[in-house]
């Protein structure tokens, strides 16, 4: 199949049962997208498919043929962090970093669609991303800061 990730088309061999998250990590070789629960609950595997955040453990790789997939690797420009990444850095919005790729892509979707999100908007947006380190307060602060920048 052909899989377009971060603007680059890859020709890869997949079993029909292969999940999008596994194709991205193992065939395309981009390991920033994490495998968490494989049930659609934790959000660590979040990617953007055709402009919308999606949990890539709940999508068959073949289902993404013809779509534009964006992963966490698309955010920074070399050493220059994306404003959402910078805000998470400044506000200590992560500790172990496992949930971070999903948090960042979800936060990016929110701040791009909602210019001045309330804390309720932020909590609602990250409803599908579990973090077991921070207690979420620093994440909410980071998203608030990202929205302002």
């Amino acid at each position: 199949m052909k899989l377009t990730v971060n603007g680059v088309e890859h020709e890869i061999d997949v079993d029909p049962r292969t999940l999008l998250v596994h194709a991205i990590r193992e065939q395309v070789g981009l390991t920033g997208t994490h495998v968490g629960c494989l049930t659609g609950d934790c959000g660590a595997c979040t990617v953007v498919v055709d402009g919308q955040t999606t949990k890539s453990c709940s999508v068959l790789a073949l289902s993404a043929e013809g779509s534009a997939v964006e992963t966490i690797e698309s955010l920074a420009d070399g050493d220059d962090l994306h404003p959402v990444q910078q805000a998470f850095w400044d506000e200590f919005g992560f500790q172990c970093g496992f949930c971070l790729p999903g948090m960042l892509l979800t936060a990016k979707e929110l701040v791009e669609s909602t210019p001045d999100p309330t804390d309720d908007d932020i909590l609602r947006a990250i409803d599908g991303n579990l973090c077991r380190c921070t207690g979420y307060n620093t994440i909410v602060a980071a998203v608030r800061k990202a929205a302002r920048s």
Partner: protein, 258 residues
Amino acid sequence: MRYTRPADVDGVTAALADGDAVVVGGGTMVVPEMTHGRVRPSAVVDLAKAGLAGIARDGDGWVIGAMTTYTELARSNVPLLATAARGITGGPQIRNRGTVGGSASYANPSSDVPAVLVALGARMRLARRGGAREVPAAEFFAGAFRTAREPDEVLTAITVPDTAAAPGYVKFKLVEGSWPIVTAAALAGPTIRVVLGGAAAAPVVVELERASWRARLRSEVDRLLTEPWDDVLAPGHYRARIAPVIAARAVAGALEEA
């Protein structure tokens, strides 16, 4: 496993004709079930490109494609369904991908869509090779994880008639990220209809008079809710206890708008 992604409904019904293929809608339930070995299909039919998404007006009602996502529904004006869609948990990722047709076909008692569709008097459009039929939502939901759909049929659309009645929706859960324990979808017009979700294996319809609804509600729910649903979220006796309270809140909410 064979994978096909037909470009139209005829392609889908042809692929389903043998009756052994599994439909993939948004995939949010069925793909993890495949990963964990609870579903082991020999073939899957992916609806992504079959042209089944979108909401249209038709005469005096709505036609909602089976592949319409919660995100699209949340932006619409379809009564009750838009409200329920906004309250789906799992994050924007699930609302962007999960579909109304997938939720209806899955028919988990602890979910939002089934009771809402029954309250609205929706009709389910099913297609199979060489034929199509419509089933009222109240008959479609046959039990827990059971619908009137046959294995060679695909749900193509859901039609919802316009209503002048005032809507009220209440979803009860104990944790923000939880699926609903009990839901109540109310429509208050000349008479009142409130449909309970999560309370039993299939939605429970309660019809009441406007003048006497408060006095009659509890006894009606008790009479109709003979076998309350029991799952990991809550035991049946708990659901039976809260169901009339949740129903009353939904009716009260609807009447404030009336």
